[in-house]
Amino acid sequence: MAPWMASGLIYSSSLALLAGSITIINITTRTFNFAVASMATFGFYIAFTCVELYGGYPYQYYPLVALFGSFLGLVCYFGLNRHLLRRKAADITLMMSTLGYDLLLLSFIQMYVDYLSFTYRLFPRRVTMNIYDFELFGVRAAAIILPIVALAFLVTLHIFLTRTKFGIAMRATIENPVLAGASGINSDRVYMVAWIIGGGMASLGGAFMAMAITGTPVMGMYTIPLMFAGAILGGLNSLYGGMIGGFLIGVTEYAGVFYLSQRFGPWVQGYRMAIPLMLMAVTLLFFPRGLAGIPLGKVWRGLTGKKRGASL
């Protein structure tokens, strides 16, 4: 496997998680969570700190990373989002509030990075997490492990949302919050769980991403347009769509840059971000509300021949 393919797989898996995070928080609480940027960066720095201080491989700290991400999500929900939801704030206000939260987190990340440099004599401002990886079947282990983890996430979430009572309750609340409330489902709890899951996915996604690109304090801020692009591409009505959309965006960027730079020259590298963004722009051109217009569920069922099922 060529190195760019390995990086591409890792990068795409990370975007799958990140776009999925944005999607699940958006379909439950109408909030475009801008803070995925810093939650992702935080996730990466947790993994980095643990590996530097305690050794081992990044993978073993991923549960801690996810936990921390969930915590960040909960803080956002209880401190900010829930209040605004009760106030029936507009979508744009909800998004702006997460922007404020993101900037707060960013400042903490920067200060933390300063502290790390000073106290532990580390160099956390530009980190290549690659060096902490090992090799598996001749490629970087991350290229194999991470897509599997992302897929496992997808499957687990599917089972959760379709087979467990609370998961179905989440889908019910997403579709019809009034009826869900009348059925006795506590929407407060549903939103809380959405933020827990979303936060965990965001931080995990950040830890993944650092295995593909250079880790910096503004890594999240730098890639946030792509995370949104993935969620929008997937159509903001389906968690699966989001994860697949994120993955596609990553693939488009890496494959696109590879083939275009072969064709037109290495200057294409500088514009790598533009390629998936162009995809998002074109998508929005024909589907101003994202791919929500295309009934993904029907297409999926058509492809697999299944008859039952809800859109998630």
Binding site: L99, Y101, L103, Y115, M280
Partner: protein, 386 residues
């Protein structure tokens, strides 16, 4: 009717009072800084204020009056900055027989050319003034072009989708500038000719005054716009675009016009900024500074109110400057563990945004609901009919 009048004047008093209080706080802070730190700090604050006041007022046109979620403000600023960085200097270079093509921006040549241009500018008042005016015009034109470009998708996309697309667009322009070295040097900053060199030692003072005056002019211009039929159309569309269309307003045209005006103004600020700093580089235009800070200024001041915007910019600019000045005195405990207190600027930014949303959603100076006709005109009409 009478009780309404009382209520209106009561409310008026209340909101007027807030503006006055905030203005008082600003004056106190400025005086304190003047006494303790001297004039240069005040000048720096004034010029930061002027530049960002223009940008935030331009944001207010699009967000506050037209309801566009403009998270790509930096795009227009970049358009103006790059235009001024790339074109006026090249024209003078062409006139002087110096390289004016792609070479102009190359790092090997640019630093040799610009000082020569500066000498030419310093020798002629007329030329300097002409350079400034030309820069402003060309910045405004490129801003207007960007504004027009943005208006095409702005019609079709809604809310958060539009906001994100504009955000991505701003980033995209920054990347173009960073990669295309022929434009403004790519990753290496290029120098921008300095038309204020004519004033020698007083350069800084003059530039502060000029930009400040421009900001004030723009304020008065926008006040006129807001109170014009066009301004009313904008607000009607913001409140309910379907009703506005039903009332005969060409929604597309008005939205396009407001985006064009807003972007042109922001571009002018960008152009003035690169003249002030004397350099132009893509990475100098990060969205944190040029999109998000203006949003915070606007939200604190009060979306839809230009006076509020000015107060918001002033107050936060002073606070930001104070963080920089007093970083060792106030935040020594941070520096002791190696933390640079300058990051607190972002903490402040985030806290302001969150604080305003939670506690003061309408900002310091809420937009006043102004009747279409002044009260005395209405009275006249009623009297006439009787």
């Amino acid at each position: 009717m009478k009780s309404d009048n009382n209520m209106m004047s009561g409310l008026k008093n209340l909101s007027e009072r807030r503006e006055i209080w905030v203005a008082l706080v600003i004056v106190i802070l400025l005086t304190y800084l003047l006494i303790s730190r001297g004039v240069p700090i005040i000048m720096t604050i004034f010029i930061d204020f002027a530049v960002f006041a223009i940008i935030t007022m331009s944001l207010n046109v699009e967000v506050g009056y037209s309801g566009v979620p403009q998270f790509g403000r930096v795009a227009a600023v970049i358009a103006g900055a790059f235009a001024v960085g790339a074109i006026p200097g090249r024209l003078l270079a062409m006139y002087m027989g110096l390289p004016f093509g792609l070479d102009y921006a190359s790092d090997a040549i640019n630093f040799k050319i610009v000082p020569q241009i500066n000498e030419l500018l310093a020798s002629s008042f007329l030329l300097s003034v002409g350079f400034i005016l030309f820069s402003i015009i060309i910045a405004a034109l490129s801003g207007a072009a960007i504004g027009w470009l943005i208006s095409r998708p702005a019609i079709r996309l809604k809310e958060a989708y539009l906001g994100i697309s504009l955000l991505a667009f701003g980033d995209f322009l920054m990347w173009v500038g960073h990669n295309w070295s022929g434009l403004v040097g790519g990753s290496v900053p290029i120098y921008v000719p300095d038309p204020f060199r004519f004033f020698g030692g007083n350069r800084f003072t003059v530039i502060v005054m000029v930009i400040f005056v421009i900001a004030v002019l723009i304020y008065f211009y926008l006040q006129k716009v807001v109170h014009s039929p066009f301004g009313r159309s904008m607000r009607m569309i913001r409140d309910n675009d379907v009703s506005a269309a039903a009332a005969g307003i060409d929604v597309v045209k008005v939205r396009t016009q407001s985006l064009v005006i807003g972007s042109a103004l922001a571009a002018v600020a960008g152009g003035l900024y690169v003249i002030y700093t004397g350099t132009c580089t893509a990475f100098g235009f990060q969205k944190l500074t040029w999109t998000f800070w203006p949003w915070a200024f606007m939200m604190l001041g009060g979306i839809g109110s230009n006076v509020g915007v000015l107060l918001g910019v002033f107050l936060l600019t002073i606070l930001r400057t104070m963080i920089v000045i007093y970083r060792s005195q106030w935040f020594g405990f941070l520096m002791a563990v190696g933390i640079d207190p300058l990051w607190l600027e972002f903490t402040l930014l985030g806290a302001v945004i969150i604080g305003v949303i939670l506690f003061m959603p309408h900002g310091l100076v809420p937009e006043r609901i102004e009747p279409m006709l002044p009260g005395k005109n209405v009275k006249k009409i009623i009297d006439r009919r009787q």
